[in-house]
Subunit: 329 residues, 2 copies
């Protein structure tokens, strides 16, 4: 705790000169000037202690994650990050915490050329609200509503590891130290798939970011597109980083692997659809963005979601999306 006031706090930890925006931190508003022909994509996420992060999290990782979850939304729209605002409610002024938080935040922001242009700080229960802005050529944004029957269903990167780490923190699961560190890093330091999202413009027919769990977020694409799908549960479960080699996979039961991959939440990967004829282009987009991509299902005209195992048999396990008002983290 310190006697640092609101404006000193902003000046010390959060005020940096705007380089790309016409006006940044320090006036009543920031000013953004999207390039001609560009639309502005806007995403806003609020992170609450105990629900989105544990009170023990490294504040540098929290700074990273608070921005990452918003950049993941921009990525899912195919937008290029431009700027963000940060509203912060803090129980008090802890300078070591603020230093680490802002360091983690700005490291990710700088990596994506995304500058802090404004926001708010107040005293209250710890709460982080970031609104991020990206630009996308008019009409080129990836939406949830474009999936068509026959499209293949793809996922980027790895799935389920964040949930595995959460279960270890909860005490319901034990993992060898090395695997726990891997899973914990995926939970605390997700890498938003910003480059892949932009590469997928003009290739993917629909996209969503995976935040509430694969089955739940796929449901958004199906509802918005008016289609159904078949999901290959084992192809999805194979994307758990902790299980990347067969020896590791044996640590976890097949049921747990499916549950974490299909309904774990907190993945911040992209789930997207593309016609089979575009599969080479999808792999090329993955290569150009250095992001693994994998086919995990197919869009169909029959409504609803069918979940099959590697042998094509229905998986009877129930997978629920994470709902902040109905689940306890």
């Amino acid at each position: 705790m310190s006697g640092l006031g609101e404006f000193d706090l902003i000046a010390r930890y959060f005020k940096r000169p705007a380089r790309r925006s016409p006006l940044g931190v320090g006036d009543d508003c920031a000013l953004l000037a999207p390039a001609p022909g560009m639309q502005l994509a806007v995403s806003s996420d609020m992170l609450v202690e105990g629900r989105h992060f544990l009170s023990t999290v490294d504040p540098a990782r929290l700074g990273h994650k608070a921005l990452a979850v918003n950049l993941s939304d921009l990525a899912a729209c195919g937008a290029k990050p431009l700027a963000f605002t940060l509203a912060l409610s803090l129980p008090g002024v802890d300078e070591a915490w603020l230093e680490a938080f802002s360091r983690g935040l700005f490291a990710l922001a700088d990596a994506h050329g995304c500058e802090l242009v404004g926001g708010d700080t107040t005293r209250g229960p710890l709460n982080l609200c970031i609104t991020a802005f990206g630009e996308v050529p008019a009409g080129a944004a990836l939406l949830r509503s474009g999936a068509r029957p026959g499209d293949e269903l793809w996922a980027s990167g790895t799935l389920g590891d964040a949930r595995l780490a959460l279960e270890v923190f909860r005490g319901t699961l034990a993992l060898p130290a090395e695997l726990f560190e891997l899973a914990r890093t995926r939970m605390e330091r997700p890498e938003p798939r910003v480059a892949l999202g932009q590469e997928l413009r003009g290739i993917a027919t629909a996209a969503v970011d995976l935040s509430d769990g694969l089955v739940g977020d796929l449901g958004h694409i199906l509802a918005a597109s008016g289609v159904g799908a078949t999901l290959d549960a084992d192809a999805a479960a194979a994307l758990i980083a902790v299980c990347a080699d067969p020896g590791r996979a044996a640590v976890l039961s097949p049921e747990l692997r499916r549950a974490c991959a299909l309904a774990g939440g907190d993945d911040y990967e992209l789930l997207f659809t593309a016609p089979p004829a575009a599969s080479a282009a999808v792999f090329e987009a993955g290569r150009r963005s250095a992001t693994p991509v994998a086919r995990i299902g197919r869009i169909e005209s029959a409504p609803g979601l069918r979940i099959l195992d590697a042998q094509g048999a229905p998986v009877v396990q129930r997978f629920a999306a994470f709902d902040h008002f109905q689940s306890t983290p």
Copy 2:
């Protein structure tokens, strides 16, 4: 409390079709398309229970105020409101609260043609974070940095009433019922000076919205513009709505009136500067926007702030700006 989930809650209370924005609530991002030649003004404010509002506040008024404080920032830049995002942390799902909150929110939004395009809801201590977007012709935004020696200092509307109401709630002050209702309405239902802000483009040299108190917010203009000022404390104190007629003014001591007008906070009026030659244009801007405007001081080249009474004698009272990290509301 109810079993309503996050997506049902959004659909029932917060999802309305986007009419002006290319894409509204329901995808990973919203899309905004500022008109050619326009810059986007962005403001973000976070409201926390117990600090920015009392737990007993009428939720319809809270919905109004949460958006109003952001529209006031847009007004101070001379921007025309376009859209906003709402991130909401709620301790639980109280449908009566949500119905009233959203009703108050949308009534103000509709009055200003400002549409809700996205956001987030989660469970946690009550916290409201709104990010609002407005458009302003490139180069025309009112900034804090444009005040020049010789400019007159103006304030819109009324000052200090919100603080009077707060003091009644705190039990440090008694007011007749009729005056308390007037003050309370100013505290709970501020009217952002959106029309005046736009009328002042090209007339005012600098502007700021009054949220932390006149003296503190004037300090932002002085610092950003590299100037000083003389403030007429009694001209400012005369702007208290509760004291609008001489009989009413007698209820309050001169010291209390000055303290509330100069450092009360929560006014959401505009403080702005303009050259003396523009005074007729300022009055005309006030008339066109149906907003009272009053001269309360003058910008000078000598740094610092001099506070004088109606007789030109220095006021020795101390006025501190509201600081969320150093004051207790």
